[in-house]
């Protein structure tokens, strides 16, 4: 369901946007938010999130912003990225949301990494 929207006048790889529905448990509480922002921070591009038609775009690499948005189950989450590897970032992040943040696969390490790692 992700649609990649190339921006006029720029190579398509530099700006992307998608929309995905949150299906995980209560929504983006502590652990899923950590998984999301940690994954977001692995990409050099800017990543922003807006919920349910809101025009407010929040920094997708900030746990304060993401958890502050109170993104509950059933919320339609728009994710956009701009800069290097934007397309790849959008694909990875929307996949993470669809996989319910890998909650079952690797408890406590939702991004599947071995160790918590700074940005």
């Amino acid at each position: 369901m992700a649609e990649f929207l190339p921006v006029i006048g720029r190579p398509s790889a530099h700006r992307c946007q998608t929309e995905v529905e949150v299906t995980h448990g209560v929504g983006l509480h502590a652990r899923p938010s950590v998984a999301f922002t940690r994954l977001a921070k692995t990409f050099p591009c800017t990543i922003e999130v807006a919920v349910d038609g809101s025009a407010d775009w929040l920094n997708g690499k900030s746990i304060v912003k993401i958890i502050g948005a109170r993104i509950r189950r059933g919320t339609r989450m728009r994710i956009r990225a701009e800069g290097a590897r934007a397309e790849e970032a959008i694909a990875a992040l929307s996949e993470l949301v669809r996989r319910d943040f890998d909650e079952d696969r690797k408890a406590g390490r939702a991004d599947g990494r071995v160790d918590g790692r700074p940005a």
């Binding site: 209560v26 502590a30 652990r31 304060v64």
Partner: protein, 561 residues
């Protein structure tokens, strides 16, 4: 071996102890408190890094569920959005600890507010079980962890059992040190009326001041005789060496009050049965003071100097640290009343990064003036005090009050914080507020302080302001003794005014601990005396002797002094 050498100073805290010399660094106070420079940013960044490292280590050792929470906290600390408000405060001139504590408190407030607003409306996830409300608790936890990390950095401790040798000693250094292994203090300058000397006497640490030249090189054995006011380098070359680093004789209170025999055991009952029913309370400066305090032998704690309990900015801004200290004291007193004085900063009582040591501030910003100028700090302490009051009988004293409007402003602050805690569902009781009577202007207009529930006379500061003689300046120390007539006239006025207001007056300065003054204080009609634990026995005995007729007059009583 090196030859023995003797130095003469002035006694500041009795007892003798020997240990290796620790030379205090003579460089100026670290710039940790530089409010605008990059130092505050660096201090915050370092504390955050330390907190992250601790959390990572914890996370590695934890079960997956706990690790998830710890990862969340790590992620919060790595988030520039979280630290941005603190950094903005720093750029406006605040110190690292204050900026961070206040910014986090704002963040917690915001989160708790959101929870209570959306709580009921949101059937499925609302209420205390709200997964999104966990954040406020986590942020509070982080706040404490980072402040602890900051406190750790500012403590410059020295080896246990050694003799601290320096020009002067900041109270925070005294308080951060573990004196249970012995040790002593030898100062080139300093004064026996300083706060650190008061702490040393209360803790039984021998101390000599006014030595001029500083004796000894690091590691050389130094014997400090706080009773005689002398120190001896390499004393082992001359006399049989005492067991190193152990106090040879502790306290020796009979040296200070040579006229008073140690209390007869029946004295306590005699006093409590007396018609006057004057309470005897203890002063507490550190949690270690509790060890020397038998709660059964006192009517409660009349004064907790909280600025000594929480000796760094990071600790003083940490609500949980406040509460932990207060809880310890309340538990030890087992239901007896405890009067906690809010942070009395200023003068020689500094909190690096928040309030710098400045002799001029004795007549400037100190006590309640600082609390009102730093409402973030005052609110943190007020919250801890309100929470403590839910655990036991707590009263709160405001230091250095000059005008009724200062009391009114603090009363409002307490009301607001009590309401805020109630909104957040945190148990608390708004404690009664009283004022320290130590500014002559307040002492002379006590009838205007109708909002005060009780009064406590701080005789040390009242005397220094009354006699215009700094308490830590040896060259004017004699004025304190000779201005006692003025002091007792003012005390008489204070007690009479308080009686008309139907408010109790207690005395908590050094005067209350001088047996020769106790009879006269009782005659004035004070409701209580509050003294260091080490003075309780002597004061108890003096109280048993009963009030001294006022007719004896100031002159008659003074001859003994």
């Amino acid at each position: 071996m090196a030859a023995p050498r003797d130095f003469r100073g002035r006694p500041a805290s009795p007892g003798r102890a020997m240990g290796p010399v620790h030379r205090a660094e003579e460089r100026p106070a670290p710039a940790a408190g530089d409010p605008t420079g990059g130092d505050a940013r660096a201090a915050l960044a370092a504390a955050v890094q330390r907190a992250i490292a601790e959390l990572r280590a914890l996370s590695r050792r934890s079960a997956p569920e706990s690790a998830g929470i710890l990862d969340f906290q790590i992620e919060l600390l790595l988030d520039d959005e979280l630290l941005a408000p603190a950094l903005e405060r720093i750029s406006r001139g605040e110190g690292a600890a204050l900026a961070f504590a206040a910014a986090m408190t704002d963040q917690i407030d915001k989160m708790a507010g959101e929870t209570s607003e959306t709580g009921e409306a949101d059937g499925e996830h609302g209420g205390p079980g709200d997964a999104f409300a966990l954040r406020a608790v986590d942020v509070a936890d982080l706040q404490h962890r980072v402040l602890d990390a900051m406190a750790g950095r500012t403590r410059a401790d020295f080896p246990e059992g050694s003799v601290y040798v320096g020009r002067d000693m900041p109270p925070s250094v005294f308080l951060a040190h573990d004196w249970s292994g012995g040790g002593a203090i030898a100062l080139g300058a300093g004064s026996m009326a300083s706060h650190v000397a008061m702490l040393a006497r209360a803790r039984g640490v021998p101390m000599v001041v006014g030595l001029g030249a500083l004796p000894g090189e690091p590691g050389e054995p130094l014997l400090v005789d706080g009773t005689a006011g002398t120190v001896h380098l390499h004393p082992d070359q001359r006399l049989a060496a005492p067991s190193p680093a152990m106090p040879l004789e502790m306290g020796a209170p009979e040296l200070v009050f040579s006229g008073v025999a140690i209390a007869v055991s029946g004295a306590a009952t005699a006093v409590s049965g007396a018609a006057t029913a004057v309470g005897l309370f203890a002063n507490i400066d550190t949690l270690a003071d509790l060890d020397a305090l038998d709660p059964a032998r006192v009517d409660g704690v009349g004064l907790v100097r909280t600025e000594f309990l929480l000796a760094t900015a990071a600790e003083a801004l940490n609500e949980e640290r406040h509460l932990a200290c207060y809880r310890r004291i309340l538990a030890h007193l087992a239901g007896k009343p405890v009067t906690l004085r809010m942070l009395d900063l200023g003068g020689d009582k500094a909190l690096p990064g928040l309030v710098e040591s400045d002799a001029a501030s004795v007549l400037g910003e100190r006590g309640v003036r600082i609390l009102l100028a730093h409402p973030d700090l005052a609110r943190i302490q007020a919250r801890a005090l309100i929470r403590a009051a839910a655990l036991g009988p707590v009263s709160v004293l405001l230091p250095m009050v000059t005008l009724p409007s200062e009391l009114a402003a603090m009363a409002r602050l307490f009301d607001e914080e009590a309401a805020r805690l109630a909104r957040q569902g945190v148990p608390g009781v708004r404690p009664p507020l009283g004022i320290m009577v130590e500014v002559p202007a307040a002492a002379l207009t006590l009838d205007l302080f109708t909002e005060a529930r009780f009064f406590s006379v701080g005789t040390n500061d009242l005397m220094q302001y009354l006699a215009a003689a700094a308490r830590d300046n040896p060259s004017v120390a004699h004025l304190h003794a000779e201005a006692e007539t003025a002091m007792f006239r003012l005390l008489d006025h204070i007690c009479a005014t308080a009686r008309r207001l139907d408010r109790p007056v207690s005395v908590c300065g050094d005067l209350a601990a001088e047996p020769r003054a106790v009879g006269r204080l009782l005659a004035l009609g004070v409701a209580g005396l509050s003294v260091a634990p080490g003075r309780l026995a002597a004061v108890r005995a003096a109280m048993a002797a009963g009030p001294l007729p006022t007719g004896a007059g100031p002159a008659g009583a003074r001859t003994e002094g």
